[in-house]
Amino acid sequence: MREITLAQAVNEAIAEEMRRDQNVLLLGEDVAEAGTPFKVLSGLVDEFGTDRIIDTPISEPGFTGLAVGAAMTGSRPIVDLMFGDFLTLVMDQIVNQAAKTHYMSGGKLNVPMVLRTNMGATRRSAAQHSQSLHAWLCHIPGLKIAMPSSAYEAKGLMKTAIRDNNPVVIFEDKLMYQEKAPVPEEEFLIPFGEANIKRAGRDISFVATSSMVQVAEGAAEILAGEGIEAEIIDPRTLVPLDEDTIIASVRKTSRAIVIDEGHQSFGVTAEIAARISEKAFYDLDAPVQRMGAMDVPIPFSPALEDLTVPTPDGVAERARAAVKGTL
């Protein structure tokens, strides 16, 4: 199977959907000629023109609000939010407008839009360009949240998102754009609410999102050399969340570590860990562990930044303790 980068996968997904449905359009900063600073959208404006690939001023609330209105009136906009940190700017339009319109109108108005943004630290981009804020939006009823962990997921989830009649927010890990993975040429969609078991194991379950899936895989390799078999679950979408797959895994292994790049406290890991504790309680042989980014603003210095996120060694160490029963 051919291998393409995550950037190429996103580009393909958007292009295919824009060919399929004339109502799909994309707006954001430097999306047309420049194809965004990450060059993910290069070439789209050549095929679809500036009517459908629209460069906006630096007005995040403005163009996000525009997208909400356009979605309510027949368009299917994709908003490109250059950095996930800028969610702070668009919160009213996403939370108060997009998420609630269908409900507040008694089901009569739809907002079929996609907000495409990123997350992930260790790029030396410092505190205001390195955050992973997806937990905030998982908390809002009416939104769907997708977290691709490789080029394959990026393509399949983006296509599903564009066809979904609800506001969907997709978080791509900005450090993964050049990473390749096998992606079929034939059309495929990844349904929301279906987790992927990336690796089977019997001793401990790792539930990991986005690039933390790779961290989990690294840890699993280390542990395999010590006779500990880790199972890795990639939820792929946090809302809706495939609880059943996660619970079944933990029932089998009796131990779990949830790994996510949001901050350690009050985040995605807490939610998933709580659900595991609720539904697999009598099968747990070790307390459920959460591993997130340190509760500090992301530091700039390379000596410090890498300390703040989970690593394969860190995950392996925690897993060992879980298996040994010393937690």
Binding site: S59, V68, G69, T73, T101, S105, G106, L109, N165, N166
Partner: protein, 326 residues
């Protein structure tokens, strides 16, 4: 004032009816609140009828509006029915939003009302986006974005006006300047010239007496026609006044508005009276005919109120429905 042709006569009478409908609706809604029958809060439009009616009468059903927290007037002016509106205000199943939106989020999609918005200026993006859709879909639909003088403080408004101007979107920004943002006078909240804001983006800006419904309507017809041709966006500043408080519970207002000022507007600048006087003077309708119109509407409204009070709430199973669209 334009010459009273037959076509105009019908239009004028329609406008009169619509304004009376709004006024009567609001009086009843106010009563529902004061008598403890309406949950939550609502915001009265009484006194501003000329703005909503003047503008909406220049629009087709397929044109769109976005509204504000003070949205009953826009909703009625754009074609909504009393029954479903009262049901919505009381949270009943037959409301426009199945009781799930309430006064501040009332929407009437079939008539092109994309919804009231509880966030000040919150619908500016939505209106501009609707105009974007209209342009690229080639529907020729025009969108009117209603907002108050208070929303001139919101950054979002300027962001979307900037984009609307850059992309020549068919949207009319209608600023209803009722002189007060909640409890503060506009002169204390908005610096400089109000219309200069739009002009800064190269948007043509107009100012009109909001209490003169015919003037509002004439101007709007002109701008809508131009917007359909792609000459938009436009900005209109409509000077008007709200008789009631900011919300239905804002009864002791003397500390920020004098009773004299309120009286002055009610007695000398009432849009319904002004149009009524015009109609009788031009012999388009007699005083008695206008009375009849008012009585009919009063009766219609009362029927609708009673209906809504008796109507049932949505079933409890609906509480977690409509979170997501299929």
């Amino acid at each position: 004032m334009a010459r009273a042709s037959k076509k105009n006569t019908e239009a004028y009478l329609r406008m009169y009816r619509q304004m009376v409908r709004i006024r009567t609706f609001e009086d009843n809604a106010n009563q529902l609140y004061l008598s403890g029958k309406m949950p939550g809060l609502t915001h009265m439009y009484s006194g501003e009828e000329g703005v909503a009616v003047g503008i909406c009468e220049a629009l087709e059903t397929t044109d769109r509006i976005t509204s504000t927290h003070r949205g009953h007037g826009h909703c009625i002016a754009k074609g909504a029915e009393f029954k479903q509106m009262f049901c919505e205000l009381l949270g009943k199943e037959e409301g426009y939003c199945r009781g799930k939106g309430g006064s501040m989020h009332i929407a009437d999609q079939d008539n092109g009302n994309l919804g009231a918005n509880a966030i000040v200026g919150g619908s500016a993006g939505i209106a501009t986006g609707a105009a974007l859709s209209a342009k690229r879909l080639g529907t020729k639909a025009v969108t009117v974005c209603f907002f108050g003088d208070g929303a001139l403080g919101q950054g979002l408004l300027y962001e979307v006006m900037n984009m609307a101007a850059l992309w020549k979107l068919p949207v009319i920004y209608a600023c209803e300047n009722n002189l007060y943002g909640e409890y503060t006078h506009v002169s204390e909240m908005a610096a400089g010239e109000l219309t200069a804001r739009a002009k800064a983006f190269g948007i043509e800006a107009f100012e009109v007496d909001g209490q003169n419904v015919l003037a509002v309507n004439t101007l709007t017809q002109d701008l809508v026609a131009r917007a359909r041709k792609g000459e938009g966006p436009f900005f209109v500043l409509l000077n008007t006044y709200r008789y009631n408080g900011h919300h239905v519970g804002d009864i002791d207002r003397a500390y920020y508005r004098s009773k004299e000022e309120e009286q002055e507007w009610k007695e000398n600048r009432d849009p319904i009276t002004i149009l009524g006087d015009f109609l009788t003077k031009e012999k388009i309708a007699s005083g008695k005919e206008l009375d009849t119109i008012r009585d009919e509407i009063k009766s219609d409204v009362e029927t609708a109120v009673n209906y809504a009070i008796e109507a049932s709430y949505p079933p409890t199973s609906e509480v977690d429905q409509h979170v997501y669209a299929a």
